[in-house]
């Protein structure tokens, strides 16, 4: 029986409200909030990046799994904002949790589905018997261009899932991926900010690929929407996943636990993984969970999990996702936000 043996989330403490960004650009905050179904977003501190977020999420997963680091045979960190263009992020995770040196490690990228890709690879390796435990981690500190609609949502956070076969807290019952070559969102080498194809990114990219992923997954598993207690889709804003769920025949009740975007923003590779970790914080043995990521470019990874009797024992071993999200946030003004995100041109220090 292969599945998740430990999971962990991490969300930085800083936030910025839609109003704070809108006032700088002369934009209409209420319409943005309504259009995006999003009130605020997380911001990484100046000392946080994908590596620090992935590490903290992985440490939380290790606390829940209760195994020693050297047993981890593979680590995959998926992100579109790795701090180095060349040099892996996952190696730092391996060092911190003590998985060195006997470990396979790789960084992944595929816009917002890089995290679920890692989960898929980890699952596959464990299932094949290649490794005993493997990490799939999704984390991002994404940047929207100043003034762009993405600036209101591009957020920071991540979640880590340790796959294994012993003391599984959620079995991974079925997996299905769906993809095509669709240029809806990209960032070219040496560019600071990503670009997107406006309204094309909706129907032709997000909705088409999430639908493809979920329908394929349900077909492969022989399951129906009502079979699931919880579902989580990639959540670039509050509107897309809710509309998608409705179109596919899911209810608001199934969506709400994993829907973090209204106060978190879009954590890109961390988005559906964080939704899943929030669900695992709450789920009870026997609950079925459907997850479907989406990554521009474009594709989706779908998973079906079932919570086991072991889950309740580990839920309290590390900080929960909603605790990171809801407890004592620190709101930034736009000036501090652009300082933290290094958008201010300064003199080179001598």
């Amino acid at each position: 029986m292969v599945g998740i043996v430990g999971y962990g989330a991490y969300i930085p403490r800083y936030r910025i409200k839609v109003e704070e960004i809108a006032k700088v650009w002369g934009a209409d905050a209420p319409s943005y909030k309504k259009g995006l179904m999003l009130r605020e977003k997380s911001v990484p501190g100046p000392d946080q990046d994908v590596i620090t977020i992935a590490v903290e999420a992985a440490r939380n997963a290790m606390k829940r799994a209760g195994i020693s680091g050297e047993k981890v045979g593979a680590i995959y960190v998926g992100s579109e904002s790795h701090p180095y263009a060349v040099k892996p992020s996952g190696t730092a995770v391996a060092e911190v949790i003590g998985a060195v040196n006997d470990c396979h490690c790789a960084d992944l990228s595929f816009a917002c589905k890089a995290g679920s890709e890692g989960m898929f690879l980890a699952y596959g390796l464990v299932k094949s018997g290649e490794v005993e435990y493997a990490f799939g981690i999704g984390a991002d500190t994404s940047q929207g261009a100043p003034g762009d609609a993405l600036e209101y949502s591009a957020a920071a956070g991540g979640a880590a899932f340790l796959m294994g076969t012993k003391n599984v807290v959620a079995t991974l019952d079925c997996q299905y991926s769906y993809m095509s070559d669709t240029p809806d969102f990209w960032r070219r080498e040496y560019m600071h900010y990503p670009r997107h194809a406006g309204r094309f990114t909706g129907d032709m990219a997000y909705f088409k690929h999430v639908r493809g992923g979920v329908e394929g997954l349900l077909k492969k598993a022989g399951a129906k929407p009502k079979d699931f207690k919880y579902i989580v889709f990639h959540q670039p804003n509050g509107k897309f996943p809710v509309r998608m769920a409705k179109d596919l025949g899911f209810s608001d009740d199934q969506v709400k636990t994993g829907l973090l975007v209204p106060t978190l923003g879009n954590t890109y590779s961390g988005a559906s993984p964080l939704g899943l970790s929030a669900i695992l914080d709450e789920a009870k043995p026997g609950d079925a969970i459907l997850m479907c990521s989406f990554g521009s470019g474009a594709g989706s990874d779908g998973f079906i999990f079932t919570a086991t009797k072991a889950l309740p024992k580990v839920q309290g071993r590390a900080k929960k996702t909603r605790d990171y999200l809801d407890t004592n946030p620190f709101y930034l003004d736009y000036g501090t936000y652009v300082k933290f995100r290094r958008k201010i041109r300064k003199n080179v220090e001598d």
Partner: protein, 131 residues
């Protein structure tokens, strides 16, 4: 000074807080040393520091050294970990007015400094109060 060799050499202590415990008298050294100043023994056992502690002194750095300007003002403290070992580090995600002797903190993995825009990034530990 921050070079790849320095970053690599310090990885065990900065990433995992690996200390050295004197095999003879039990004194803990962090960073590790080669001879115990208490009993002069040269044999040590590997020892990982606990990840929780209490602030025993604190300050707010407002005039920052090179490379730390973007973070100023930032909190620093001497933290006594639960085993009694003291470390000095930044206290992150902490409003200056929240600082007090006795503040409970936990260790988090953070970026400490960078060798300019194109150089290596050094990571390590910071203390963070509960949210």
């Amino acid at each position: 000074m921050l070079t790849p060799a320095i970053v690599r050499r310090n990885t065990p202590q900065r990433y995992r807080m690996e200390a050295a415990k004197c095999a003879k008298c039990g004194k803990v050294f962090f960073p590790p040393r080669l001879i115990c100043d208490a009993c002069k023994s040269r044999t040590f056992k590997p020892y990982t520091l606990p990840q929780e502690g209490t602030v025993v002194s604190h300050t707010v750095i407002r005039t920052a050294p090179r490379g730390f300007g973007d973070e100023a003002p930032y909190c620093m403290g001497i933290v006594e970990l639960t085993d009694g070992t003291r470390i000095l580090c930044q206290i992150a995600d902490c409003e200056p007015e929240r600082l007090e002797i006795g503040l409970k903190v936990a260790i988090e993995f953070r970026k400490i400094q960078e060798a300019g825009e194109s150089g290596v990034i050094a990571y390590g530990y910071k203390a963070v109060p509960g949210r």
